[in-house]
Structures are given as structure tokens and as C-alpha cells.
Amino acid sequence: MVLQALADQGVDHIFGYPGGAVLPIYDELFQQDWLKHILVRHEQGAVHAAEGYARSTGKVGVVLVTSGPGATNAVTGLTDALMDSIPLVCITGQVPTHLIGNDAFQECDTVGITRPCTKHNYLVRDVNDLAKVLHEAFYVARSGRPGPVVVDIPKDVQFATGIYTEVSNSQHKSYRPATVGDEDAIAEAVELMANAKRPIFYTGGGIINAGPVASERLRELVRMTGYPITSTLMGLGAYPASDKQWLGMLGMHGTFEANNAMHDCDVMICIGARFDDRITGRLDGFSPGSKKIHVDIDRSSINKTVHVDIPIVGDCAYVLEQMLGAWKAKNLKVDEVALKTWWGEIDHWRARKCLSYKMRDDVIMPQYALERLFALTRDKDVYITTEVGQHQMWAAQFLHFDEPNRWMTSGGLGTMGYGIPAAVGVQVAHPDSLVIDVAGEASVLMTMQEMSTAAQYDLPIKIFILNNQYMGMVRQWQELLHGSRYSHSYSEALPDFVKLAEAYQGVGIRAEKPSELDDKILEMIATPKPVIFDCRVDENANCFPMIPSGEAHNNMLLGDDVAEEDIGNVISETGKVMV
């Protein structure tokens, strides 16, 4: 019955790991060939792989794990998916119903444990509810603000036979998220936009979640107005980075031009982003002089941290369409003169060249490595995943995305170990594409075992490690906040990544000098197997620009400034308690 429901939901790949409490489902898997099961090496990996799969295809990712430790291992991935609004259905096995609550072998309170880290969850006690619940789970996962849904199925229910409910008869009783925005609010919003003197679009992952149509509409609206646009980490690719209206990413490690424009704007058009603390910095100094329009499918994201003037609850794709319509119907015109002055200011900030760094020819600068990686892959069909740390921020700054669904990173939760399994999931969905995990040497060890999955299924993922021998991001904060006392942030006793790759039946490549980088990257691209690329980079490089915690957007630290100041003195006492 489980497989029938998956078939009816159009699922063709499932990421999982077997165990006693899901054996009946595994037995069914054995007796069919339309549904491809990818055996991971750790349940966390199954969830991240499903996330990569979902994020790169727009489909719901599906996970199958056993009870007890299988379910608890999945918790990090579920939380990650909840924070980043990724649609997943995770089926967990459970001990038979009559044993629930008895501390049975491999029993855990899965619905209890996963309640706060899922959008919704179910324990199915009656086989006659099973199909309906599964269909509902897919509906809930993908509708409204997407998220992970757990369906916990006791073993006796898996064995039982019952009545199957068709998809069409599985309407949810109460859950009906809004899609279309309020017309009056939209009319008011476009008026405000047209009268703006210093406007900015601030967009986020919601646009990606709303599908490719939303990105198209966004491009149309942004080009029609000629306004500048920036985006969060999660929204990269919704608007092409090669376009002249693009200011780069905003936020803690965003560009000087994006953050200053956010600070000084008079009208902020926020679409599918949520004023997260990495974006706003100090709240009382966040864009103090602007009127704010906020489009979000989740009402609870509106007015949560920042007061907005025109809230619009709806699906970005619909609301953007409505905005375009309203703009055209009213025949609105932008204030060309003001806009020209505004762009003049922005160009001034751009001229600051905030991403510049000091090139060296004895060691590879991490920024340079990514510039070369981008240059040598830009004409390819490429998907990027990342781990978490400095390398992640550099990847966001130096790899440029022109299309949505090409960039998979753990934003909300910041989960080290996301990148390799996510790359596995992406490669499963796009077997012929180039899938690269931009990694740090510390993060990558958290889920390294998924190399074994890549080997098993001939998934030629490329793990591009910016190996600085430090938990660089931790070290950077220790420099900023803790007098450069590097407490446990040095990556001791690292494995030989080249040998490690070979041990996993992949190919290892090492680059140590800038002069050899291009050839080695080309070699990596040409290798039809999983590759671990150990790119030895400058150990001391830090990630700038940066809004120090406790500061506002117009108070950024820039790389070349910091070199002259003592880095330990740039964060105020109050800023130090923040994360």
C-alpha cells in the first residue's frame, strides 16, 4: 500500500536505510523495479540527499528509515528541511502498535521527537488510514510554505491489508494555504513602488520554492522597473547574477553595495524572504528610513522581527503576476531621475570592490580557487551544494548563479555535513550534470561515508574541499571575539583526502599552488567518477565583507580595512554575546 501511494504521487526515487521496523516495506521494494531506492550510509544523509533532490527538481523528496535510531538519526535532516522550507516526506518504521509505549526494542517516540522539527507528522494506527495519510503528507509537504512531513508506520500496519484511498479522495480537512494576494494591498504596493526614489528588491528562497515561474515573473518585474535587486543566501539564482541590476547577496557576508542599498533605500520590496537575523543585523538600525512591502506565503513570517507597511500573504508566483498586472493596468512609470541618482550612489558603493582580496602566487587564496572553479565550469550544466563555514560564504560570493534550483546550501540550520549527501541527491536527479560540493575539510568529515553511496550508484559527484586546516569560520569568530585564542578550531589529524578518495573507489586530486589549479580543476571535471579535490588554501584568510554581530548594514567590515585595524577590537562588548 505504501508503494502504491508513492506511485500515485509520482515518486521515482527514494533515499533510505533498512531496519527491523521497515522490513515489510523493503520486501515490497525488492519485488518491483519502477521505484529506485538509494541506499545511503547514515539516515541524516538520506534526508539531506532527499533535500538536494527536492531543491534541484522542485519535487517532493522521499525518505524511508527504520524506527528508533533510524528516526533519531534523521532528526538533523528534518530540522534542516524545516528551516529551509524543503518539501519532504519521511516514512519511519515503528514498533508494532501493541508494543508502543513499552520501551520496546528500537522504539522511540518518533512523532514526539519530530513534532517541533517537521511541518506536520502522523502516526498511522489503522491500515485503512494509511493511503489517505500518505497522500495528505505529500499535499502538506508541498503546499503553502513547504516543509518536511513524517509518517510513522508501525510494523503491524505495514503487514496488514486494507482499503486503499485514491489521491483524489484525500483532500485535507483544514489545511488550505492562501495563494493569491489581496488585490487592494497589491494596488497599494505597486503605487508605492512606482513613487519610490531609492527602491530595492530583497528576495529569498520563497521565490525558488514557488517554482521557475516565480523566477521568470521576478525577472520581468525587476527589468521593467529597472530597480536594483539583492537576495538572501537561499534565493541565489532566482535573478541572474550576471545581470547589471544584480547587487550580489545581502546580509552578514553580503556585498557592500547590497547592504548599503538596503540601509539607505526608501522602499523595500521583500519577496519570499523572512528578515532573518543574518540578514537584518542590528534590528533598530535595519533600513530605518524605508517603507516595506513583504510578500510571503507564511503569515507568521510577516511582522515577526521587522515591522512592514504593506503585508501581502500569498504565493510569490501569483503575487508577482498580480503585481505585473496591476502595474501595467495603471500604466505606472518609475521616477527616472531619482532612479538615476540612486544608481549613481550604488555605483559608488560598487566601486569599493568589497570582494577584492590579496592574490598570492605561493599559496592558493580560497577566493581565487572559487573564481577559477566558476570560470572553468560556467558554460557547463552545473549544480552546487556546500557545507557550512567560510567556504560556504565564499561560494555564495564568488560562484554566480543565473538560474534557480542550481544552488543547494544549508541556510537556516547551517548544518555541517549537508553538502556531500545533498550532492548525492542532486546527482541522482541529474545524472549527466556536473554536481560539485564546495566543502570545508572539517564539515566534509561529518558525512564522508556518503562517498560510499556515490561509489555504489556511480554518482560522479565532485567534492571540492577548500582545505584551510581550520574550522575557518570558528577561527574567524575567535579572532573577532576571543582574542585569537583558537580553542579547538584547528583541524588536527586530518586524513589524506587523496587516499581517502581512493579508499572509497573514487579519485583524489590535490592542488597546492595557484599555477597548477586550472589544470587540476579541468582534470576533476573530466573525471567520470566521484572525486575528492583537496585544494590546499591559505590557512589564515577570513571571509569579508562582514556585518559584525550587533551592527547595522551600513557598518560593515571590509577585508582591507581589517588588515589595518586590530581584528580583536572591531566588535563591541554587546555584540560579543550574539551569535
Partner: protein, 180 residues
């Protein structure tokens, strides 16, 4: 870099807090209450009072009445966060609607003899409390009414041998003929 600032809204905001009564219609399915309570605990919202009971057996609906306090922004958040939970049908802020009907029931146990006992009985009568259990040494009163009245009653019983109190928490409905 002198004034305190925050990447997180760490400091307590100076905004005034308000008390609101919300009525929440939910599917009567296992775990709904845990979801609601978990939401309040996880996000640090206050619960002053919470009552829940199935109200429409056929439709599998329960009604949860929550009294909570917070700044206007937090109150808005609570409503949106509740609304976001999948098994929740509607969330109504009765305080915003205004003039809703609010009642609570309490049982009040008072022990004593002689003059104090007689005084307790007299007071109870004036509060329209009903005796539901008694002996020469004690009374258990039942009182229904607005919360402020119950509080008054409890205070009045304090010097007369108050032993313990059990309160149901608030039940509330909007006035008028409409359904929520």
C-alpha cells in the same frame, strides 16, 4: 559601536504587554494539544490559562481556549503561528472582537467550625456559590463566573479556612448568533 544593539532581539522590548483570549478550533486528533503547547513552550510564549475539550463529536472538532500575554507583535505572532499548524481550523482573538463571554468554574474547599464556618456559608451565598460537598468541618463550594469574581471569592475564603482550590480555566465564546 557604543549603544547596545542586537542581531537577535535579545533585549526585552519596552512595548506594553496585553492579555488576550483566543479561541482555537482544531481537529480532535492525537497530539493536537501537544502541538499547541509545544509551540508556546518552544517559542517562549506565555500561557495564563488553557482549556480544551471536544465540542463537536460528529465533526471531530475540539475547542481550545487560551489566555496569553505578550506585546501586540507577539500576540500577532501567536495567532499566525497557531494558524500555521496543520490540524487547526480557525483562530479567533476574542479580545480583539471585544465583549466576549468569559466564564470559569472553580471548586473551593474550606475547612472550619463555628463562626468561621457560618461566615463562609453566608459569603458563599452572596457569591451565588453552591455547596457540593460538606461535613460539620468543611465545605466544598462550586462557583462559576468571570475570573475576577472567582478571584474575589477565593480571597474572601482565605481567612475562613481555605484548604485548596481547583479551577477549570477559562471558557469563552463570542456574543451574537454567528458561529466562529
Amino acid at each position: 559601536m557604543s549603544k547596545p544593539g542586537s542581531a537577535y532581539p535579545l533585549e526585552k522590548t519596552e512595548q506594553k504587554t496585553e492579555t488576550h483570549t483566543m479561541s482555537v478550533l482544531v481537529d480532535n486528533e492525537p497530539g493536537v494539544l501537544a502541538r499547541v503547547i509545544g509551540l508556546f513552550a518552544g517559542r517562549g510564549y506565555n500561557i495564563e490559562s488553557l482549556t480544551v475539550s471536544e465540542t463537536e463529536h460528529e465533526a471531530h472538532l475540539s475547542r481550545i481556549t487560551i489566555v496569553t500575554t505578550g506585546t501586540p507583535m507577539v500576540i500577532e505572532q501567536i495567532k499566525s503561528q497557531l494558524d500555521r499548524l496543520v490540524p487547526i481550523h480557525t483562530v479567533i482573538d476574542l479580545t480583539v472582537l471585544g465583549q466576549s463571554l468569559e466564564r470559569e468554574l472553580a471548586m473551593v474547599k474550606v475547612a472550619g467550625k463555628g463562626e468561621k464556618r457560618a461566615e463562609a456559608a453566608r459569603l458563599a451565598e452572596s457569591f451565588s456559590a453552591v455547596v457540593i460537598d460538606d461535613s460539620p468541618e468543611h465545605f466544598v463550594f462550586e462557583i462559576t463566573g468571570e475570573q475576577s469574581r472567582i478571584e474575589e471569592f477565593v480571597v474572601a475564603m482565605q481567612p475562613l479556612g481555605l484548604v485548596e482550590v481547583c479551577r477549570t480555566g477559562l471558557a469563552a465564546l463570542a456574543r451574537g448568533p454567528e458561529r466562529m
